[in-house]
Subunit: 190 residues, 2 copies
Amino acid sequence: MSFRHKIIPMKTPNKTKFAILGLLTIEPLSGYDIKKFIDQTLSYFWAESNGQLYPALQELTKSKWISLKKPSFKEKKARKLYSITDLGLLELKKWLRSEEEKSVHRDEGLLKLFFGTNIDKEECMQHLKNRRARMKSRLTEFQSILHQLQKRSSPHHLYWLLTLYNGIHSVKAEIRWCNQSIKILEGRSS
Amino acid sequence: MSFRHKIIPMKTPNKTKFAILGLLTIEPLSGYDIKKFIDQTLSYFWAESNGQLYPALQELTKSKWISLKKPSFKEKKARKLYSITDLGLLELKKWLRSEEEKSVHRDEGLLKLFFGTNIDKEECMQHLKNRRARMKSRLTEFQSILHQLQKRSSPHHLYWLLTLYNGIHSVKAEIRWCNQSIKILEGRSS
DNA sequence: GATTACATGTAAGTTGTTACATGATTAA
DNA sequence: TTAATCATGTAACAACTTACATGTAATC
């Protein structure tokens, strides 16, 4: 005999909300703006889809962490501009100060390489060369963003630069690893 | 008036199945073995939970990509040993040869740093120091695995080494970036 | 007039985790 | 005999994506 307890799975905090809150500390934005900003600027380490974004905006409004600025009668567009509230800022800071949780990401390319014995060495090398090419074009992109960022200046600018550096360090390490791995595979007769 | 088409979202291929197939090319394994292997060896770039693993094993069996070896009457444990079938190997190879899909991972630490202006510089630095410490202990772990791996030898061994090198390159790049970022923040008066 | 970009949203699905249950085997 | 580990599995939920609908505004 055993007691049957109700299963109450621990909720993993919804980080989408904090991404939104963070962006609204820069300036009031619409859902559309937020999506664009994330796609253009955070995409290296963060992604959101509309299916998450818009419901999150509604929930944040309900819990008064953000508020809807009604468009002035001059404004032509039907866009909804959101601002962060004092409460929202408080919650954002709480999250910013909290310890990071480990998040395992899944790297399909590495999984394929791990099982590389099952296909030809040449096919593995081709995958590595493709990966290297992707990383190189990413590096070029990062460096052009770096150029633009170094010209501008805002309170946020320093931290944006740091996250960009992370991307640059990472892709450079990836490129070095691809080069090394390709060489190692080339050296193998089989 | 508009035609209302049935919504049939494109299925994103279930990679859990391929992780299982790949591991079964090494040797017949039970669900428990697979979980342990993934946790111990692939955890740097791959994770699975039991809630995915066991249903996947059943589906793979149903579609005849793997088969259940009935335990010999001598075997004491109630474990189910699975082997990959010819069909399964074919499908695995197909996947191994396919082009990699981009997968955006979410890095909560970078997201926090991006919004760093909202908290004290010292708090951001503390996050970076914690990250660096985590990366350093990961590096130590990788290096001890490297030691063990260099002693053993199997057809798979070379590819395992390559994925391990990827981890080593990555964490080293992370450590360098943490050091640089901490220095940059220290240099700031604000 | 047509096309592209702006703008908000939802239905339906897949994917993945958590927190259990259940029972066998092994070691102290 | 008690505890730990081995071993398989599931219910409930949370997270997330895709593929749409719907309409406005700007531009070619």
